[in-house]
């Protein structure tokens, strides 16, 4: 019996197993090398994990938009990174005067809620317009047209903002409260890092509740399972799709504001790379799966932040931070090869067959 199974093993299987073994060995060797080198203190390791969680939280918030739209429409909304940019950029025009007048330092919560609301509204509106103009006409067309349209929308948004506000970089205001360093368990962190992680987790929890505990959430899940059957059951599919884009836009808006307060800069091209990374995070976690997008985002952020110090430094690679994206995308390729459905992804095809 065993011999029979062995006979079925192909060269491809062997190569893939060797690849897995090689990657695992490299990671282990690199980690051991880094531990032996003992270059970083515990505080520095913890700081790096925290940097990763901060950027990971932002990736996760953007990834939610990708994953929800994919879940409902089976469409990759490539303009989503730029929708994130529009929120961060527009909120700048609220944040800058609020900070200048001292309002933001005085009434931080009210100010942040206001800034986030502006970003969320703008992102939702733009997401809706993109959906109406670029995706709806192609909804029943089985071709690459919606994808190409998404890429076009992405360019359009970038260059529209460039045309309107110029190509220069704008500095987000500094908020005193965010920059204060707090000590937790003997480790020091600026408050903004906690704010981002907590805000990201809270938004995701709220989203989880919406999807799983509300009527509209149930309708979303129904449309995601089978759009035609859902329509036959009396669900207004258009309404569900609009709701999904509003939700995705809102999380991107929150992500945009948090990103801008961490990195303190906005410019018209800022959405492209976080968008690509968040898309990778969504695929990593299992596209179409909400908790998967969160997990993928945090995971990608931490690996990006820790990877060069943990694996590459130990392997003796010079200037490892240049290869940060390589780690992120190698991981993506590995996931696509060995677990195409992503970390938490379901085997959709099999389930629906």
């Amino acid at each position: 019996m065993n011999l029979e199974r062995l006979k079925q093993v192909t060269y491809v299987d062997v190569t893939l197993w060797l690849m897995r073994a090689a990657v695992i060995l490299l990671v282990i060797a690199g980690t051991i090398g880094s531990v032996i080198k003992d270059r970083y203190t515990t505080e520095q390791w913890v700081s790096m994990v925290m940097f990763g969680l901060t950027i990971g939280g932002i990736y996760a918030l953007i990834a939610l938009g990708y994953t929800m739209v994919y879940g409902i429409l089976r469409l990759i909304n490539f303009a989503h990174g730029d929708i994130f940019m529009t929120g961060a950029f527009t909120a700048y025009f609220v944040a800058a005067p609020l900070a200048k007048s001292g309002f933001l330092d005085e009434y931080l919560i009210v100010g942040m809620v206001l800034i986030s609301l502006v970003a969320m509204t703008v992102c939702s509106c733009i997401a809706l317009i993109v959906e109406r103009i670029c995706y709806r006409p192609f909804r029943s067309v089985r071709s690459l047209a919606p994808l190409i349209c998404a890429i076009g929308a992405s360019f359009f948004l970038q260059h529209a903002f460039r045309g309107m506000y110029g190509s220069s970089v704008r500095a987000y205001p500094d908020v005193r409260w965010f920059d204060v360093v707090v000590t937790i368990l003997g480790f020091n962190f600026p408050r903004i890092q906690f704010v981002v992680v907590i805000a990201a987790l809270a938004s995701m929890y709220a989203l989880y509740l919406i999807v799983h505990k509300t009527k509209m959430g149930t309708a979303m899940r129904a449309v995601s399972e089978d759009r035609d059957a859902a329509a036959l059951m009396g669900i207004d599919v258009n309404k569900v799709i609009i709701f999904t884009f509003v939700l995705g836009g809102s999380t991107a808006g929150i992500g945009g504001v948090l990103y801008a307060f961490v990195f303190k800069q906005v410019y018209f091209f800022m959405g492209f790379f976080p968008g690509i990374k968040a898309f990778s995070a969504a695929v990593l976690g299992g596209i179409g799966n909400v908790p998967g997008a969160m997990l993928g985002g945090f995971f990608l952020g931490v690996v990006e932040s820790l990877g060069p110090a943990l694996f590459l430094d130990g392997l003796g690679i010079v200037a490892p931070y240049q290869l940060r994206d390589l780690i992120a995308f190698t991981m993506l390729v590995m996931v696509l090869i060995f677990r195409p459905q992503g970390i938490l992804g379901e085997r959709l095809a099999r389930q629906r067959a």
Partner: protein, 421 residues
């Protein structure tokens, strides 16, 4: 017999044809009365003489390219917007400060055979692929701010035969920064960051070599990707090596993130971060906000007293034409690049009685390379055989106010070294 005769004749004809084609490559081109081994640009009476420019004129590094481009435009204005009896017409292209942009801009310029000469680029990453494309099309090129040593290295190859530059070579810049850091500031432990661009990487290598020669130590040699936004992990790594200062000759985006995030890293709060002129300008001030205060850059001196005699007048004209004082440090280079090209064109152009002008390109290229003691606004310009024509007055500047409106090279950023020229 017949087929064999036919084949023989065919072979003979082919050999003759191939021979003719091969020898035609070495034939000179003759247009009107003028002959040149490369090509001749014919400009009809009243038609414009086309000068192309390619610089970064969009994105975060706009100031770098736009400043040089404006310099060339001011020079044309000083020439009365006329050259050898023809109105000057500019063809401005954007190279985006990257290789793909340089290639696209150069291809577009090369497609226009009326272009006599190209001015640009401001970035080595764009100039490196652009110059060979231009020279293949018979267009000499004067770079305005592309300072990477590879562009004028003795082994640069014949595809760069048409390239000169009116900017210092980073071999000088890297050496001067190392000297200043070690001898003037007394730094012994340096950390370096580059972004993988030919400019930054080569400059860092030259700096490291010279710093080590002086007795200094490179404690951390790091690289980032040009689009990175989260610099905290790499800065954390640098902090573990306890440097006296960090040398990061990166562009505006990366530099502003480094400036802003350095203060968050324990152990780096008081470590100096030194950049280069690649990031100088209002955009860095806008992007870095108040953390910019105290940031230092190494560059060639920008004050009028460190320049050639015509500089002040040129600066005023710049203000008059564009409504603001120079936005970066390379307007003088753009101006001199245009003047160098114009002087050479005047030397080689032949205008017939009917008003038609002929410009032989090989002769033009040679005349440009033969420039000696030309009084430019950046100083006295002499080109060497590899096209290095830049003047270099090393200086260190420090920002004293983060408000972009206060930008005025010399005052903000203020020169802190040397005291006098």
């Amino acid at each position: 017999m017949k087929p064999s005769f036919f084949l023989k004749s065919l072979a003979a004809v082919s050999i003759v044809a191939v021979g003719a084609l091969a020898s035609s490559a070495a034939w000179a081109v003759k247009v009107g009365p003028v002959e040149d081994p490369i090509r001749v640009v014919k400009i009809a009476k009243g038609a414009p003489i086309v000068i192309a420019t390619y610089h970064v004129i969009s994105g975060a590094d706009t100031a770098l390219g736009l400043d040089a481009q404006r310099g060339a435009v001011v020079a044309a204005d000083d020439l009365g917007n006329k050259l050898v009896g023809h109105p000057i017409k500019f063809m401005h292209e954007d190279d985006g400060c990257n290789a793909e942009g340089g290639q696209t801009a150069a291809t577009k310029i090369a497609a226009n055979q009326q272009v006599v000469v190209a001015i640009g680029g401001a970035c080595s990453s764009a100039t490196r692929p652009a110059a060979p494309i231009l020279w293949k099309a018979g267009i000499p090129d004067v770079a305005t701010a592309a300072s990477s040593p590879v562009l004028t290295a003795p082994d640069r190859g014949p595809s760069y035969d048409g390239l000169l530059r009116i900017v210092y070579n980073d071999l000088w810049a890297g050496r001067e920064v190392a000297n200043w850091a070690y001898k003037v500031r007394g730094y012994k432990r340096a950390a370096t960051i580059h972004d993988g661009s030919p400019y930054a990487e080569k400059l860092v290598r030259v700096f490291q070599e010279n710093f080590k020669k002086l007795g200094g130590e490179i404690v951390s040699d790091e690289a980032i990707a040009p689009n990175d936004t989260d610099m905290r992990p790499v800065l954390t790594k640098i902090a573990t090596s306890k440097p006296d200062f960090i040398y990061a000759p990166t562009f505006v985006g990366a530099t502003s993130y480094l400036i802003r995030q350095k203060k968050e890293i324990p152990g780096l709060e008081k470590v100096a971060l030194i950049g280069s002129d690649a990031s100088m300008g209002a955009q860095l001030m806008e992007a870095a906000g108040k953390d910019l205060l105290g940031f230092e850059i190494s560059t060639t001196a920008m004050e009028p007293e460190a320049q050639g005699p015509g500089y002040t007048a040129m600066r005023e004209k710049y203000k008059k034409m564009f409504g603001e004082y120079p936005i970066q440090g390379f307007h003088g280079n753009g101006y001199d690049a245009m003047m160098l090209a114009a002087n050479a064109i005047k030397k080689v152009a032949i205008t017939e009685k009917d008003g038609t002008t002929y410009i032989p390109i090989k002769a033009l290229r040679d005349a440009m390379f033969a420039t000696k003691n030309m009084q430019g606004v950046t100083g006295k310009i002499t080109c060497d055989q590899y096209g290095d024509c830049g003047v270099y007055n090393f200086a260190i500047y420090q920002y004293t106010n983060p408000d972009p409106k206060t930008l005025e090279p010399g005052k903000n950023p203020k020169r802190i070294y040397p005291d006098k020229f």
